[in-house]
């Protein structure tokens, strides 16, 4: 993941000229400007997901938390590039957890913003087509899937994410949880992610996280999930 991000960033750097405006690029919608990861714009206003997620949460989550992952990822990548230039393997290995955490944080949040939408933009409208069929086949119904996803979210011990993923080997879909900011990579492809870090809900729901997990389905952008699935 780190290597491919660096390659993407180097490529983007080559053609980064007049415009440094963040644009959606690649599957994950990650944005780069002048070789640096940048904070992607939200496709909706901070208050647009209310009452499921308050505007204050969205603003802090996007402008502060996500930005910090972007900044720290860029710092780690700069250090990595120096270490590569010096052929310093120890430092390269030492940077791995930082790249996983901050790069993971950047990837996860980018995917998360995209798989949310205000009700006025289709948020909460159930999936259709091949994805709807796959969910019915794997879980029985959308409702069954949602309760299993909510149980997975509630079972996370500490910070982390729950994802609907597609197994690249079998094509099957399933629910997986990931600790902290570990991103969905390797055998699995991320389809739909829900942030279970306390910062994602605490200002509005405090310790009543089950209410957050239940309310978020009203603002899930199933169109974005369908796009990832196909």
């Amino acid at each position: 993941m780190a290597a491919s991000l660096i390659r993407t960033s180097a490529r983007t750097a080559l053609r980064a000229g007049a415009s440094a405006t963040p644009k959606a690029a690649g599957v994950a919608g990650l944005t780069f400007a002048r070789g640096k990861a940048t904070l992607p714009d939200l496709a909706y206003d901070y208050g647009a997901l209310e009452p499921s997620i308050s505007g204050k949460i969205m603003e802090l989550h996007h402008k502060n938390h996500h930005q910090t992952y972007v900044n720290s990822y860029n710092t780690a990548i700069e250090q990595l590039q120096e270490a590569v230039a010096k052929e310093d393997i120890t430092t390269q290995i030492n940077l791995k957890p930082l790249i996983n955490f901050h790069g993971g944080g950047h990837i996860n949040h980018t995917l998360f913003w995209e798989n949310l939408a205000p009700k006025s933009q289709g948020g909460g409208e159930p999936p259709s087509g091949a994805l709807a069929k796959a969910i019915d086949e794997s879980f029985g119904s959308l409702g069954e899937f949602q309760s299993k996803m909510n149980a997975a979210l509630a079972g996370i011990q500490g910070s982390g994410w729950a994802w609907l993923v597609k197994d690249k080997q079998t094509g099957n879909i399933g629910i997986k949880t990931y600790a902290n900011q570990d991103p969905v990579v390797g055998q699995f492809q991320p389809l739909l992610g829900i942030d279970a870090w306390e910062h994602a809900y605490y200002l509005q729901y405090q310790n009543r996280k089950a209410e957050y997990f239940s309310a978020i389905w009203d603002v899930i952008n199933w169109k974005a999930v369908e796009k990832r699935f196909s």
């Binding site: 802090l60 910090t68 902290n180 900011q181 306390e198 910062h199 605490y202 405090q206 310790n207």
Partner: protein, 210 residues
């Protein structure tokens, strides 16, 4: 019958740690978060009793992580409340409250300031939920700064004091600015408790007493 644990009262008022930790955080943290660990620990221990009587080994294994997480949450919070003290109380003065521990910190880290810097760096370096601890290798033993993830408790060393770095410990007041929380925590650290644990250790049974 499995032992049933109950929420110990705080040794100070909910607003006693202001302005470092606000009343609302303390109330939710103690009455809701800590209580939930206890409720889930009791449920897991009761299920364990049943599984043990039935020789149900898969179920016993299945319960281990629940006991570790919720038992750890109960231990960690019980230790935490007690190693905090009201703002500006005599307990927060290291010179008077912890002369022996202070000397050990200075001998090992050069100065209390340098120790605080190192401890703060460990707290801010945590990726995800967890705790930072000053531990001693036995009563009066060598000191070490460690971090533990989620609710993993310190079980093989003496926990001199711990700082909760779960977002629920500071978010309502500090939001993403956790550095300010870490900076402020020293103003409500109970050095008298720390001194006592450093000199005498913490018995297993005393871990959960306030």
């Amino acid at each position: 019958m499995a032992t049933t644990f109950s929420l110990p009262p705080l040794p100070y008022a909910y607003d006693a740690l202001e302005p470092v930790i606000c009343k609302q955080i303390m109330e939710i943290h103690h009455q809701k978060h800590h209580q939930t660990y206890i409720t889930n620990l009791n449920a897991a221990l009761s299920a364990q009793s049943t599984a043990l009587a039935a020789n149900n080994i898969p179920q016993l294994i299945n319960l281990q992580q629940k006991i570790k997480f919720n038992g750890g949450g109960h231990i960690n919070h019980s230790l935490f409340w007690k190693n905090l003290a009201p703002h500006a109380s005599p307990e927060t003065n290291i010179d008077q409250a912890a002369p022996v521990l202070k000397a050990a910190i200075e001998a090992q880290y050069g100065s209390v300031e340098k120790f605080k810097e190192a401890f703060g760096a460990t707290l801010l370096g945590l990726q995800g939920s967890g705790w930072g601890w000053l531990v001693a290798n036995g009563p009066g033993g060598k000191l070490e700064i460690v971090s533990t993830k989620d609710q993993d408790p310190v079980t093989d060393k003496v926990p001199v004091f711990g700082v909760d770095m779960w977002e629920h410990a500071y978010y309502l007041q500090y939001f993403n600015n956790k550095a300010s929380y870490v900076e402020g925590i020293w103003k409500v650290l109970n050095w008298r408790t720390a001194e006592d644990r450093f000199k005498n250790g913490v018995e297993g049974s005393a871990l959960l007493k306030l």
